[in-house]
Amino acid sequence: MTRLVDVPQQFDDRSFEQFASSFAQGAAGGERLLFDAHATEWASPYGFVALLVAGQAVQGAGRERPLLTIPANPRVLSYWTRAGFFQQAQALFEIHGKVPKIKPAEESDVLLPVTAVRAAEDVHQVVSHIQQRATAILTSQLGIDPKATVGFAMALSEACQNIVEHAGTGGWVAVQRYEWKRRLSKKVVVIAVGDAGVGFRHTLEPTQSKRFGDRWGDGAALEAALIQGTSRFRDPGRGQGLKGIRSYLSRWDGKIAIRSGSARIAIAPSWDDDAPLTEGLSAFPGSQVLLIIPEQGTGTS
């Protein structure tokens, strides 16, 4: 018996809850899971990372290797391949369908193909790669000061380090440039980082749960980490990473959202209407971080 997990037709941070709900229902049973992406028309870096995280969680639970049906649309399939998704997915899923043989990411929109992050060495590679690939796009297409592109690399580094330092498992990062015609009428760079690790609540529980008392949960843990800059370490130098990311995004009118467990927190600029904190969502493994940096200086719609 297999249990179907629907992959949304447009799979990004906004349709993620639909996927998380379907995954939670599927994961609750003991059947083999079938991730059905045949009708998927588009996926953002957040969608790619979420799909891999779900596969990783299934593998981590010692369950039978899940199935994945690939998108039916050849154009979509080609894009998923170029984005490096299948290179990572083949270790987690039994893939159904013929994946084209295309080298990932030589095109300019994919700033960083879906890349595994397991150790500090991987973060070095990600930061080095992104500085070589992204500087021109950030400056010429997004209007970000050339000097500030290093800040972009710093933010990416800190986001990836959360996996290495706290997740207790590996994860993935992907970075892509988009033209957001309907949502913002601007170009944006989207960074997605995710893992199927222990999540923020588990990481912070030993040092923070008493302070929050009855309020303690996934939402409070996210609030402690992102808003209060709390770390599981008592060292005052810890917790600077997320603070630094916030400060960088605030300078460039960007957005950060983190989902962990059954909660999601967001610091959204004026162009976005995301809720600051949402609790009681479907449980999803680990943590998923979303960073969005919009094109500068043309006003928001």
């Binding site: 060495e121 590679q125 000097k147 800040g151 710093m154 005052p236 603070k243």
Partner: protein, 141 residues
């Protein structure tokens, strides 16, 4: 005071691969430990960041903030705006200050109280003097 420590060279020795970015805590720790071995008991140290493209908060904390536990005065050379972006908030968080050296000119970076204490230390040790314009400059050796 000993010769400036070439941070880029130490980075190259500390990580496998030709990276120019000081990122991640394990890298910061490895770089700091090498620097600490070179410094032995020095209380004043100079570090040259020329060639280091990016430093993140974790590395700034591991290297700069933690070296200041043993070193009283830390002079940083070859510092770019991008480096400051990471170093400044770390210094603020710890209440520490470092000295940025550009030619003979010195700038103390850190929260006011810590910066003032470092200024006094520099003058006390005759490492720096106040110029007519009120800035700090290295004393002629």
């Amino acid at each position: 005071m000993i010769a400036p420590i070439d941070v880029h060279a130490v980075l190259q020795e500390s990580v496998p691969g030709p990276y120019a970015d000081l990122v991640t805590r394990p890298t910061g720790r490895a770089v700091r430990e090498r620097i600490e071995r070179a410094l032995t008991d020095a209380t004043v140290a100079t570090m040259d960041f020329t060639g280091v493209r990016c430093i993140d908060y974790s590395c700034a904390d591991e290297i700069v903030a933690k070296l200041l536990r043993s070193v009283q005065i830390l002079l940083l050379q070859g510092i770019t705006d991008a480096h400051r972006l990471a170093i400044e908030p770390v210094l603020q968080g710890h209440g520490l200050a470092v000295v940025i050296q550009t030619g003979t000119l010195l700038e103390v970076l850190g929260p006011p109280e810590a910066a003032e204490a470092v200024c006094e230390r520099l003058i006390e040790r005759r490492l720096a003097e106040r110029t007519a314009g009120g800035t700090l400059a290295l004393t002629a050796a």
